[in-house]
């Protein structure tokens, strides 16, 4: 029964996937493509490309997409809920006892180190994302503009993104129009 399959698959994924969006792909392939044959390889590749290109959390994008493909809106809802329920439970439990844990010196010191480790991780992610991009004059200008705005103004990040979105559309429209001539 496909809805049950969806729920179980994504519940397991939500419970066992550490470290970000792409890690869920092998699991989806194994269960839904190979074992249950609810999806083809081609469909999976398409879905990954789209989940990547749309805003939002990649693994949730994938769950929704796969769920929709297999069971329309109900499938999308079931897959997404199944994915997030383990997190909600685990994190709530951790959050409940977090303050108490932090009173332990070793835990406190560990978190001091962890905070530094996190900064290093974010830097690493930034660098690898920066390496993957193709650069043209427009994107370089945008990067500089955004850096200036974040460092020197108190403009909210979301506002900056909205502006960037609009500027991007305007630029691309002009570019395409000019190219046609």
């Amino acid at each position: 029964m496909k809805y049950l399959d969806l729920f179980i698959t994504f519940f397991k994924i939500g419970l066992t996937t550490f470290g970000g969006g792409y890690a869920i792909i092998p699991q989806i392939k194994e269960t839904l493509v190979d074992k249950r044959k609810l999806l083809t390889d081609e469909e999976m590749v398409d879905m990954i490309a789209i989940s990547n290109a749309t805003p939002g959390v990649i693994s949730v994008n994938l769950a929704t997409f796969v769920g929709y493909r297999i069971g329309k809106i109900l499938g999308a809802t079931i897959a997404t809920l199944a994915l997030i329920i383990p997190s909600i439970i685990i994190i709530t439990l951790i959050a409940m006892f977090f303050m108490e844990f932090m009173k332990i010196k070793a835990v406190n010191y560990a978190f001091w180190g962890l905070r530094i480790g996190v900064i290093a991780l974010i830097l690493r992610a930034s660098i690898s994302l920066a390496k993957k991009m193709k650069y043209d004059i427009f994107s370089i200008l945008v990067i500089i503009a955004v850096l200036i705005l974040t460092v020197f103004t108190s403009m909210s990040a979301i506002l900056i993104l909205i502006l960037a979105f609009l500027v991007g559309i305007i630029y691309k429209s002009v570019y395409v129009a000019v190219k046609k001539k």
Partner: protein
């Protein structure tokens, strides 16, 4: 409570390219609303990295819980997830008819470079307190060490976190 939902809905809507892209937005919104300190945000990211499940969901649940209890956790999570679900359902429905990826590329033109710039500025914002107003030599040295270690690309995030936790314990007990 609606504020939490709306905040995370916005965050979910503007997160492009994966969990880390969420960090500048979280940092910005949470400090702006006074919901979390920079230190708490970093603690949170560490916990979210080390637990299973989507990074964004972990963060949303934790923040939501901290602000409004169990219900807050659920509402924040639904908020962060809803943009994805809505957009993907729409894209799925139209997918058969139009080649969506070209349109998406078009729409993403300004957003992709911005996401990168925001990530770098988040690094600066999060690291800055180690330098001003008080120069934290210990912190800066450890940060440089950790940056060096993260550049050894094979080590996954969990490994890096394990190392940094140990480093923290050792260093803080000695100094």
């Amino acid at each position: 409570m609606t504020e939490i939902f709306i905040t995370f809905f916005k965050i979910g809507l503007f997160t492009i390219g994966g969990g880390y892209a969420m960090i500048p937005l979280i940092t910005d919104e949470m400090t702006r609303l006074g919901l979390l300190t920079r230190e708490e945000i970093l603690n949170l990211i560490a916990v979210a990295e080390g637990t299973p499940g989507p990074f964004a969901v972990n963060i949303a649940t934790f923040v939501g819980y901290k602000s409004f209890g169990f219900l807050g956790g659920i509402i924040a999570t639904l908020g962060v997830v809803l943009p994805s679900v809505l957009i993907i359902i729409i894209v799925s429905m139209l997918y058969e008819k139009i080649r969506k990826t070209k349109v998406l590329d078009f729409l993403m033109t300004g957003l992709r470079p911005s996401a990168i710039a925001l990530l770098f500025s988040a690094v600066i914002a999060l690291a800055l307190p180690h330098i001003t107003p008080v120069f934290d030599l210990l912190g800066v040295v450890c940060l440089i060490i950790m940056i060096g270690i993260t550049q050894i690309k094979k080590i996954p995030p969990i490994g890096i976190l394990g190392i940094s936790a140990l480093l923290g314990i050792v260093v803080k007990f000695i100094f």
